[in-house]
Symmetry: D2
C-alpha cells in the first residue's frame, strides 16, 4: 500500500528536505506541496535538485488535494496551529515541524513563543516525536510534534545521563549550529559577511529549545533538569554540535559514562555512541552521534546531527514511518557524507 | 544475482565514498576493502559514518578475497598500473580511478604523469568511462578508466558545444574545486589557515586533466580542442564549478546554445541543463548540472558536480552498473542536497 | 595642517572601512559621517570595532558639518550624482565610491546602470582614481571616481600586458570575490546557506565593471580591449582574485611577460608582482598582488586585493592623499594579514 | 632611542605576525629573525606580504646578531627553555610565546607538557604577561611568559567575575578557535576537508591552557577556580570565542555583572566590555571584547580576540612596550577589521 502525503510549506529548507526524502520513499507518494508564492509552478523549477524525482506543482492550499493520509506542517510557528485543526477534522494524521505543539503547557508556549496557543485541544494530544525515546506513543499518534534541531542534539546527549542518576539535574548546553537551521529568509545575522568568518552567540538564555529540552528529558528520565542553553552560529551550512556539561554526583570514569549511552543506544539504527562524534560523519543523513568524556568531577556529552535531517525532516519521516506502521528506517537508510 | 566487488585503496576519500555507495547498492556485495595501514581493523572503526552498513574488515591485499567480479582501483596514480594486470589475469573486471589508464597515448602519460607507463597493453584496451558519451563501449568493457573530477565537469560543459560546431576548438577552462578533490594527505596548501579564507590558483597550465579534456572531447566531438586549464582551490569541501569560455564562429543567441545542451542531455538521468547551475543542487549526489550564456561573440558554459560522486566514486559505480549489465542508476538514484 | 573630511553613507561596508582608515590617518580629521537610520547615535555604538578611535555621532546630512575639505560619497549608485553637485558648489573636493562618475560616456552609464545620468557636467570633469596609472591627473582633481573592486583587480592584471602589445586586445576575466563586495543588505544570494558552501557565477556578461575595465585599460594602454567578465561569489568575506586570460601575439616566455609587470609596478608601494599572488597576503591592507604565467600561446594574469581596501576605501584614501598633496601612502602603510 | 629586537622562530604563524607588527613599530628595529629552514633567504621571499616593509634575511641562530635589547622566543614549547638561559646570560630581555614559562610550578609543567622543566631558575622569575592584570610586574621584568590564546580570552572573561565574588570559583570554558591557533604544520585535523565544514572538539579536558587559566585567575582574583575547558576547532582562520559559564552565589541582574567588567576594563585601551562581543570586530587587531549575560542562577561571560594578535604576537608586543618603557599601545594602535 502506498500512502498519500503532503507538505504545507514546501519551499522552506525543511519543506525542501522533506521533499528530497519523500520523493525517494518506497511506501509513500508525495502528493502535495503548498507554497503561497510558488503556487502553480513546478516543484523542480524552484528546487532544481529534484529534477527527475517529481512532477508535482506547488498548490496554494492543502485542501485542494484529496485523500491525504498524512501531512507535514513545515510552516513558521504560530501558523501551524491554524492549520492542524482542519487537517485533523478531515482525519489526516499530522506531523508538525514548527514548534507549535512541542510544549505541553500552553502557558509555557505563551512565555517562550510570545503568543496565545489557539489550539490547546490538539496540543494536549500531541506526542513529542523523538522516536528513540517515545517510539510506542508515536506509533499510535495522530499528531506528532517534531522536535527542534538543537533540542534533538541536546536531548540525545543529555537524557541518558540524567536518567542514569550519575549526574545532577543541571546542565549547560553550549550549542553550535550551521546556518541552515535559521531558515531561508535573509537576515543581517545570516548575511555571509556577518557570519561567514565568525562564531556568534545569540538568543543567550532565551532560545525556545530551552524549555523543550527540559520537558523532553523530564518525560524520558523522570526528572526535570535545569537547562542553561546558549546557541552559537558557526560558518557551516548543515550540522549541529551540542556540548553538554554536567556535574557528577560521585566519581565515575569514562567507561561508566559510556556504558550508560551504549545501553540506551546500542540497538538504535540512527543514534550511535562513538569516541569522537563528527558532524561530517552524519551530515546528509538521519544519523546522530553521541560521545562523552569525564573531566574530574564533571562530565561532558556531545550530540551531533544534521539539523535538516535528524534535526528536522529526517526525524519527521522517521515519525511518519512509525505512525503509518512502516519500517522505521524506510526512506532514511543511508549513511552520512563522511567527507 | 549479486555481484562481489572490492576496492583497492579503501581509506582515501575516493575509497571511502565508494564504500558509502556500494554498501547500499541493491545488486552488489562489497566484499573487500584493502588498506595497508588499517589491515585487520573493522571498516567502521575508521569510517564511523558507515556504522550499521558494513561488517567488513580492511585486508592488506585484494588477492586474499576470492571470487571477485569487479574491483575498483582507488590508489594514487602510478600504483594502479601495477595492480590491474594481476586482476585482469584473474578475469576480474576493473575500474581504475587513479588516472593511469585515461590517456591513450603512453607518451602523453609520460609527459603529464612524469613516469613510464608499465602496462601499455591494458592501456590500449581501457575504455574512458564517461557514460553519457561512451555508454556503448563501457557496457562491453573489462577495464574502465574513470574520468578525473575536473575533467568530467569540463567535458560535460564543453563537448556538446564543440561537437555542435558553433564554437572554435579552443577553450579556456577556469576550474574551482573544493578541497576534498586533493585527497586526504595533509599538505601546506590544504592546511586550513592557508586555504580556508582564500582562493588559490595552482598547477597553472600544468594540471593533468588538461590532456584528458582534450582527448575526451576529441573522442566525442571528433575535434581536438586546444584547452587552457587553470584550476583554483576554493574553501568548500565538496563541489566543482568549471567555467568554460569559447569564441562563437557565428552569431548565436542563448537559446541556440541551450538547445545544443538540451539535445545532448535531455534524456540523461544524471546530467541536467539548467539556467543556473548550482553546487548545492548536486552535492552529495551523482547528478551534474550544466548551464550556458552567450556574451557578445563569446559563450560561457558551466559544469557543476560533486567531485567525489559524479567526479569519482559515483561515476565509477555508474560505470560498474553498465559493465555488469545492471540498471545504470542502481545505487545512485537520489537527488543532491539542495541546501 | 589637518584636513577636515566627511563620509556620506557611513554605515555601509565601504563607509565603515573608510572610518577605520581615516580615524588613524595622521593628516586628516574625520569630521562627519552621515546615516539616515543612525543619525544622532554615536559611531561606536554601531561600529563597535571603532571603540577608542572616534567620538563622532552620525548626522543625517553632510551639510550640517562646516568647513569640510573633502567628502567621500559612499552611497549606492544613483544617489551619489544627487549629492556631488551641492558639495562641489560648496567647493568641497569629492571622491565618489558609488560608480556614478566612472563611465565617461553618459550613454554607457544609462546602458549599464539603467538610469539617466543627472550630472553630466561633473561626470565630464571626474578623474578615474587608479593612482598607479593616473596619479598626475588625480593630484589636480576636485572630483575623483573611485574604481570598482573587481575592476581594480582586473585592470591591474590586464592593462600592462595590453599596453605592452604582447597580447591581443581581447581578454576573459574570471572574477572570484568575497561576499563583502556585495554590500551589507541581506539578499537571498548572500544568505549563508546559499553561498557559504558554494561558488556562484552571477551577472554573467552583465556586470557593470565590464565597461569600466574596457575604459580604464583604454585610457592607460591606448587600446580598448574587448572584455568578457564573469564574476563568481566565493565563500570568503574579504578578497578578490581575478584570473585574466589573453592570447599572445607572438611566442613569449614567462620572463618576458613578468618583465612587463615589473617594469610597470617595480616602484609602486601598493602593487607587487609576485610569483604566487595570494589573497591572504593582501587582506586587511591596501596592497595588491599581480602574477602571470604563459600557457602555450595563451597568457594568464592574476590580480589579487582586498575588495574593501585597495578595491574601495583604501584606494579612496590613496586618492585623497594625492588630491590633498599628502604622502600617497599616508594612513595606509601597513602590510596584509599574511595568515 | 630605537631598540633592537629579534625573533627566534620567524617562519611560524606567531613569528610571522610578530614581524608584521614589529616592522611598523615606531620605536624598535626588527634586527633578526631566525629560521633553520630558511636561513640566508630574504624574509619577503617567504612572507610575501611583508614586501616593502623589511630587507632582513633569516639567520640560522640568534647569536649571529649583536646588541639585541629584546628577543621574542616563538618556538614550539620545550625548545624555548633551551634558548632563554643563553639570552638572559647575554643580558637580553626575553618574551617567551611558547608556554615554557607560564606555569610557575615545574611539577605542573611536567604534568601538562609531558617533560621535565630544564630551566626552573628562570621559570621562577618569569612574569605572566597579561598586561591588563599584571602591568606593574611586567614593567620591571626581564623575562615575560606570554599567555596562551585560549587562556587570554578565557581569563579576560572570567577573572573579573571570579574576583568580584558574585560567582562560585568553578567555571566551564567552552572555547571555539580558528585554525591558525594550531600552527603552520599540516595535520589531519587541520586538513581542510576534515575541519572546513565542521566543528571539532579536541583535547577534551586535557588542553594545556586549563592550568594556565586557573593560575592566572588565582593571581589576579586571589582565588583558584576549578576550570573545565573544552576547546573546539571552528572553520575560520583567525579568532577565538570563549563562552564561560558560572553559577551565581546570589541573585544578580545583567547590570550588576556588567558593572564588574566595566569597572575592571573601563580605562583599558585593548579590552572592551560590549553588549555583543564579535570576532569580526577584533580580528586583525590587538583588541579584545568581553560580554556577559545572566541566565537564571547562572552567568555566562564571553571573551573574544584574534588568536594571533591579542592571543599571541600583539600581546607580546604590548608586553615588550611595557618592558622597554614605551607607550603600551605603540605599534598596536589600530582597530579590528569590523567586516
Amino acid at each position: 500500500m502506498t500512502y498519500r502525503v503532503g507538505i504545507i510549506g514546501g519551499t522552506g529548507y525543511t519543506g525542501s528536505e522533506l521533499s528530497r526524502i519523500l520523493c525517494r520513499h518506497p511506501d509513500v507518494e508525495l502528493t502535495a506541496l503548498t507554497s503561497r508564492n510558488n503556487a502553480g509552478k513546478s516543484v523542480v523549477s524552484v528546487h532544481t535538485f529534484l529534477q527527475g524525482y517529481t512532477d508535482l506543482k506547488f498548490t496554494a492550499k492543502i485542501d485542494e488535494t484529496p485523500d491525504l493520509d498524512l501531512v507535514f506542517v513545515a510552516t513558521p510557528y504560530g501558523v501551524a496551529m491554524n492549520e492542524v485543526p482542519a487537517l485533523r477534522e478531515r482525519g489526516i494524521k499530522c506531523i508538525d515541524l514548527s514548534g507549535d505543539y512541542r510544549l505541553k503547557d500552553p502557558a509555557l508556549y505563551t512565555k517562550w513563543y510570545g503568543k496565545e496557543h489557539t489550539d490547546p485541544e490538539h496540543l494536549a494530544e500531541a506526542v513529542y516525536g523523538l522516536p528513540e525515546f517515545f517510539r510506542g506513543k508515536i506509533r499510535g499518534a495522530d499528531l506528532v510534534a517534531n522536535p527542534g534541531c538543537y533540542a534533538t542534539s541536546a536531548i540525545l546527549a543529555c537524557a541518558p545521563l540524567l536518567k542514569s542518576g550519575l549526574v545532577y539535574p543541571d546542565v549547560i548546553v553550549d550549542g553550535k549550529s550551521g546556518t541552515s537551521g535559521a531558515g531561508m529568509v535573509p537576515t543581517p545575522r545570516l548575511h555571509h559577511p556577518t557570519c561567514g568568518a565568525s562564531v556568534i552567540p545569540y538568543s543567550v538564555g532565551k532560545h525556545r529549545h530551552t524549555p523543550e529540552i527540559e520537558m523532553a528529558v523530564d518525560m524520558f528520565a523522570g526528572t526535570r533538569p535545569k537547562v542553561v542553553f546558549v546557541p552559537h552560529l558557526v560558518p557551516i551550512v548543515r550540522g549541529i554540535l551540542s556540548s553538554c556539561y554536567f556535574r557528577l554526583k560521585d566519581e565515575a570514569d569514562d567507561e561508566t559514562v559510556a556504558a550508560v549511552f551504549r545501553q540506551v543506544y546500542g540497538k538504535e539504527k540512527f543514534v550511535h555512541y562513538v569516541s569522537e562524534p563528527s558532524i561530517r560523519a552524519v551530515v546528509g543523513s538521519n544519523h546522530a552521534q553521541v560521545g562523552s568524556k569525564v573531566i574530574g568531577d564533571r562530565a561532558v556529552a556531545f550530540g551531533v546531527l544534521d539539523n535538516l535531517v535528524k534535526g528536522a525532516a529526517g526525524q519527521a519521516v522517521q515519525n511518519m514511518n512509525l505512525m503509518l506502521g512502516l519500517d522505521e528506517g524506510a526512506g532514511l537508510d543511508y549513511p552520512g557524507m563522511g567527507v
